[in-house]
Symmetry: C2
Subunit: 428 residues, 2 copies
């Protein structure tokens, strides 16, 4: 309810810009399936290779994904902020991450005086410099802050649609702690929050906490990998032990967890999130220190926790579609109901239903286009293509029985009274 009101609530199609296509782009035009599906349905538009605009209906899906992530980040005590895209060289030189040989995804530009600036691809350094340095005492710690920020990464190739773009929206959270143990405890809390997020996004069953490469501080980091043929990772699963391992650390993990390598299931997956324990390494590099209880200066402990918001949208598109188009999980569908009135009486009844459903707090997209703008068949096709959870059609024929036609996106149509429809939707 809250988010939908922010987005302008329910909508009439004539007052909300959606342009769907009858034909799909060819693989030559757009190599990635997620982008072809999303483009055909009018959710995204490619601006350059690896760079997409999110059109109004696509923007709604992003906001729904963000709302779920935001709630769970707030629930673990994160405070939302927004850092900058422009980045100074000095800061990143202090940790050795300015050099293009070390980090090969920088976009760089320069100020009028020709001094260089970078465009942020991550924010560990600026967060430590800004927030970490403000925390001068152990009493200020722990701190957890997060943002939804547009990251730029200069990828060599960009053929995966919104799964891996040169520009994408990321939720990145950073936590700072006075001790290793406090970071470890918080890391575990965030891990559980992530589990909840993927469940709420409809990806719970296919998403695995996965061992991946660690850093100077820990042997492994954790990724959240979702089974997905379009993904770029290979996962090794021991379903009995409920252990998933990224190919990059397979041998170490086999040894560490005493796995039988020959019995591991090898599956394609897409990384939908990652959490990383930096220990006190970054703060040491940058000399970001606090005064501990004993009065000594110590570098603080840093954890970082990412979720690619636009990538999640791409994974959902890859996983949930059929021949008719997209099939969004209810929690992220841009609208709950697609409403169509057929014939004079049907259109009149649709107008009344719209008001009634809006008042009941249902998110509804009413295709109120007149017959010159769109024929009934086009409206029915759009409802499927867009992947809206339920379709409600009201016509002279259904009205004769005092009913409307109610159809879940992948289910069968039924004739119900509008009261029954409302009861079904409210139960959702």
């Amino acid at each position: 309810m809250k988010e939908l009101e922010k987005l302008g609530g329910s909508m009439k199609r004539t007052e909300f810009w959606i342009k769907t296509s009858k034909s799909e782009q060819s693989e030559a035009e757009e190599p990635s399936r997620n982008a072809r599906l999303l483009t055909k349905a009018g959710y995204v538009d490619r601006q350059m290779a690896g760079v997409y605009a999110y059109l109004p209906i696509g923007f709604r899906v992003l906001e729904k994904i963000k709302a779920i992530v935001r709630e769970e980040m707030n629930a673990v005590g994160g405070s939302e902020l927004i850092m900058s895209s422009l980045q100074p060289r000095d800061l990143w030189e202090s940790t050795g991450r300015w050099d293009d040989e070390v980090v090969d995804v920088w976009f760089k530009s320069q100020l009028k005086d020709e001094s260089p600036v970078g465009l942020a691809w991550s924010h560990e350094e600026p967060i430590l410099e800004t927030i970490g340095r403000q925390a001068s005492s152990y009493r200020d710690l722990p701190i957890s802050v997060y943002q939804f920020q547009t990251k730029l990464r200069n990828e060599l190739r960009a053929k995966s649609g919104v799964l891996r773009g040169r520009e994408f929206i990321m939720k990145d959270m950073y936590s700072m702690h006075a001790s290793e143990q406090d970071l470890a405890d918080y890391y575990e809390r965030v891990k559980q929050a992530y589990v909840k997020i993927y469940e709420r996004l409809g990806l719970g069953n296919d998403t695995f906490i996965t061992f991946a490469s660690g850093g100077a501080f820990t042997k492994f980091s954790h990724e959240f990998q979702t089974l997905c043929d379009a993904g770029e990772d290979w996962l090794y699963l021991d379903r009995a032990k409920n252990i998933a391992v990224n190919e990059e650390v397979l041998d170490e993990a086999v040894k560490e967890f005493n796995l039988d390598k020959s019995k591991l299931e090898k599956v394609k997956s897409a990384e939908v999130g990652n959490i990383f324990n930096f220990g006190d390494e970054k703060a040491k590099d940058m000399q970001v220190e606090f005064i501990d209880e004993a009065g000594n200066k110590k570098p603080l402990y840093l954890g970082s926790y990412g979720i690619g918001i636009t990538r999640v949208m791409g994974v959902l598109a890859e996983k949930f579609s059929d021949d008719q188009g997209l099939v969004w999980p209810a929690a992220v569908a841009p609208f709950s109901v697609y409403l169509i009135g057929i014939g004079e009486a049907g259109e009149h009844a649709a107008a009344e239903l719209y008001t009634k459903f809006v008042q009941a707090g249902i998110e509804i997209l009413w295709d109120d286009r007149d017959a010159k703008l769109a024929r009934v068949g086009e409206k029915l096709a759009d409802s499927e293509l867009l992947g809206i959870s339920y379709r409600v059609v009201v016509s002279d024929k259904t009205l004769e029985q005092g009913k409307v036609e109610f159809k879940p996106r992948t289910g069968e149509a039924e004739l119900l009274t509008s009261g029954e429809v409302l009861a079904r939707l409210s139960a959702d």
Copy 2:
């Protein structure tokens, strides 16, 4: 209510990161007053010259400004979307705006194959290319879309704090129409929506619709200028006729509106918004055409409407402060109430009040830091510095009378019962 829940609602100070400073930066460190005020109070942090991070409490103010703007844009039928920051050269060459000699604020970078990319400083071209081209028929028009997007502009100097940064958040709306008249009508509707926005932001009395330079299509465009000593514009006012003119078009306006130049009042101001009628010029340049009612191809008409969100925050900081700190207008204050408990009984009562106020839907920041973290004097000072609308203090002394101390940010303290406080706040 809706927005505040999204932001995590009310907050305890120990669970929400705010770090205020006792001293202000020097003018040498930070030449702009708005940035000095906002930095001292912990709202922003300078990342580079002209580039600021918006820390959690600053982020809340931005979200409140955005919520007001969003509501009014939705009310004139705008659909929210998000375009990309990365921009291809070809698109901007088609209108002659790629060249650094023509547009001197581009940040540019390059892909791995060394082809150039720009970072968006505005979005007329991509909107026309993406949305305008989708509108193939007059039946698709009009369309109005908007975004809150982080713009990058390579300013030569950056000494105005968040009033004019190299990176800033802008609301930019674009409308497309089948006729000159339809654009003119919509332009007028948006103008009235802007008037409402500045009224809601607490800037209504000091903001003037101002004649400024037009383009190929109209003699004048309209700016919204707010009286502000830190502004960069000079305004000429005829208060009797209610006409404001930007210095850049003074002579033309004097002639056009038959003004007495010698009697005009010359005042310093900051541009907080602008609306621009491009006519069909841009669509002609880009050959973006639709089929009109008679079946002929015609370029469409474009209007563009901007509001600098971070700039509005800077103007508010410049205009509303006193020796104790910031004084936010109620509509954009990050919280409505700053709550302080003094002494054991006072702290206990504060905890109860917090729950009670939260349940009543009041946005409250409870300074629950213990005495080791912050003394009472510091808490009282922070309440003023942060510019929260009301301060509520509960102590053994006030409790003896069954009351709490209630003080508007710039008013006198009164002893009231908590019920009376709630009534005052709810009336707001």
